[in-house]
């Protein structure tokens, strides 16, 4: 049996930055491979470098050393314009605080990345509807964020993240702002996404979320201290 191809390959990644004149080593020589169809939960105490790692993998921060390859593209060496384009089409982001555009409807929020990628209007409207139906919000496409609950807003954020069919979905504490019931619904949605083929990397403190992932990576002081595959592909 052939193993699935790698979506992400990080090698000896470091990220240092100065705080009050002192260098802080947020990520220290970390290496990580993620195959297509995997769902990796990165866990660890606060300050262990989880979010910094996610930012590096998502090309919104640059490593101080090492290499990060996503679908064969070296993210660490990209210039701003190239990294922006890569984030638009290659990565889907989900944030703890949803960060939907408050003046746009749910459908328009989902359309935003497609509009940026110059997807024709008819096509992006159809896909936005399809994605919102997929996340269970088919009847709320015209609602604005303030008319939606926290869980619904996070669903719209997931639909937005999937808009341009990214190779990798990165989620930073996706259940962090949700109550237990809504958090469980979110985990179910992520699980469905993963079963349907989406490769996911989540950073979380939520044990239930980590427990749902196929693989759990433990970080401490900027390094991986444990890497356990719970459910193989």
């Amino acid at each position: 049996m052939t193993s699935p191809p790698l979506v992400l390959s990080a090698r000896d990644v470091r990220r240092d930055y100065p705080v009050a004149g002192q260098p802080v080593h947020a990520v220290r020589g970390l290496s990580l491979d993620v195959s297509e169809g995997e769902w990796v939960a990165v866990v660890g105490p606060s300050g262990s470098g989880k979010s910094t790692l996610l930012n590096l993998l998502g090309a919104i921060d640059r490593p101080s050393g090492g290499s990060i390859s996503i679908r064969g593209q070296d993210v660490a060496r990209m210039g701003d314009a190239e990294a922006t384009r890569f984030r638009l089409t290659g990565i889907g982001f989900v944030f703890q605080r949803f960060y939907l555009m408050p003046t746009l409807t749910a459908a328009e929020n989902v359309e935003l990345p497609m509009s940026e990628a110059k997807v024709p209007r008819a096509e992006r409207e159809a896909r936005a509807k399809e994605l919102l139906r997929y996340v269970g919000l088919g009847e709320r496409t015209g609602h604005r964020p303030f008319q939606l609950s926290g869980g619904e807003q996070q669903r719209v954020a997931i639909a937005r993240a999937l808009a341009n069919r990214p190779a990798l979905l990165l989620a930073d504490e996706p259940t962090g702002e949700l109550d237990a019931r809504t958090g469980t619904e979110m985990i179910t949605l992520l699980d469905r996404l993963n079963r349907d083929g989406t490769t996911i990397v989540t950073v979380t403190h939520d044990e239930a979320l980590a427990g749902a992932a196929r693989r759990v990576v433990h970080m401490r002081d900027g390094a991986i201290v444990d890497d356990v595959t719970v459910r193989p592909l």
Partner: protein, 397 residues
């Protein structure tokens, strides 16, 4: 989508946007008024002197037309001499003095400015009622004269060239008929005035006014060198000063230069106020949305699109403010013009604020440019923010 986001951002805080737009409108109105004021008086003056159709004004040496009561003798000979110049096509002698009448039905005496002129070539009044002067004992008066004296067009009155208040006696009396009502363009709204043939005014003035003129207007033939004619006249008679339209405008320009500088300073202040208003609002708006902007960058929205969004906000604010300000500026200009027109000694028909479409568009353009400039700093800030750090700080906040 970016345009939609920019405009939606402005309507998100309606009251704040409305207040800023009102501020920009006021700044635009002031800018427009100052631009109109800067050129209005000069152009108004030019309109007056060109409307008369005379290129030269000849006065007693060292005086300006009607600036003093000075006159020059030998008026008839002067007119003949001027008519002898091959470049001169029309000569209009004028004498300005005071005239008196008793108020209708009373013995109270009313004084007025008395203009002796040649009715066939005059440019000092525009007939509004009745007919023009056609005989030595006819006169045209203005509305203020009629209101003060209680007479009407068609009445016959005893016009006096002098009045001795100690003994309450009028002198140099002539009976004249009011044949018309005119608007005297160079006089203030409340000034009383009457116009008669110059010979009549000279005659009732006695020896003091006999054959004297205050100013002689000269029209030159088309294509003539006005400055050469002016120099010839001054050389021929050293008692005279000749003022060309160009020189008169230059003189007015010099007198109005401080006024224009003031208008320029106030216009610059208006621009600065407009700029600060827009840049403050856009900066505050960007600061409020710093997390949203970081997320937009994170999900792949290009830097220049963020710049465009912020710049559109600044331009939209300034453009709407400028359009509102145009209307406001025109209304305030009209209102201020009404107030300034009642200033003593200023011609009633004088326009302080002259609306020129090019000036209005220049003002609008300057305000919109200000809006563009005002968006540069917040747009640059929004486009260059460090995405990861901003998201971290927002999450902590």
């Amino acid at each position: 989508m970016i345009l939609r986001l920019a405009l939606a951002t402005l309507t998100r805080r309606r009251a704040r946007t409305a207040l800023t737009t009102a501020g920009v409108a006021v700044a635009t109105a002031m800018l427009l008024d100052m631009v109109m004021l800067g050129s209005g008086m000069r152009e108004s003056f030019r309109g007056f002197i060109e409307q008369q159709g005379f290129q030269l004004r000849i006065t007693p040496r060292g005086t300006m037309p009607f600036d003093t009561e000075a006159t020059v003798g030998g008026g008839a000979a002067l007119v003949v001499a001027l008519q002898g110049d091959p470049d001169v096509v029309r000569v209009a002698p004028i004498i300005g003095t005071k005239g008196f009448v008793t108020r209708a039905g009373t013995d109270s005496v009313i004084g007025a400015f008395l203009l002796g002129l040649d009715p066939t070539v005059q440019g000092d009044y525009i007939l509004a009622e009745g007919r023009d002067v056609a005989a030595p004992d006819e006169m045209v008066v203005n509305a203020a004269w009629l209101a003060s004296t209680g007479y009407a067009v068609g009445d016959t009155v005893a016009l006096a060239a002098g009045y001795e208040p100690q003994v309450r006696r009028l002198r140099g009396i002539k009976t004249v008929r009011i044949v018309g009502r005119g608007r005297f363009v160079m006089l203030a709204g409340g000034d009383r005035a009457a116009a008669l043939p110059i010979a009549t005014v000279q005659a009732i003035g006695g020896e003091e006014r006999r054959d004297r003129v205050s100013v002689v207007l000269v029209a030159t033939r088309t294509g003539a060198d006005v400055e050469a004619v002016r120099a010839r006249i001054e050389r021929a008679d050293p008692r005279l000063s000749a003022l060309s339209t160009t020189a008169a405008l230059r003189f007015v320009d010099e007198r109005l230069s401080y006024f224009r500088q003031l208008a320029f300073i106030l216009a610059s202040v208006s621009l600065a106020v407009g700029f600060l208003l827009v840049t403050t609002l856009v900066t505050v708006s960007v600061n409020e949305r710093i997390g949203e902007i970081a997320v937009m960058r994170a999900i792949g929205v290009a830097r220049w699109r963020i710049v465009a969004q912020v710049m559109i906000e600044g331009v939209a604010l300034s453009a709407v403010g400028a359009i509102l300000g145009l209307g406001l500026g025109l209304v305030t200009a009209r209102w201020l013009n009404g107030i300034l027109a009642t200033f003593p000694g200023l011609p009633a028909a004088f326009d302080f604020f002259l609306f020129e479409p090019s000036a209005a568009f220049r003002s609008l353009g300057m305000i919109v440019l200000c809006g563009i400039a005002a968006g540069v700093w917040p747009a640059w800030r929004a486009a260059t923010l460090p995405i990861a750090r901003t998201l971290r700080e927002e999450a902590v906040a």
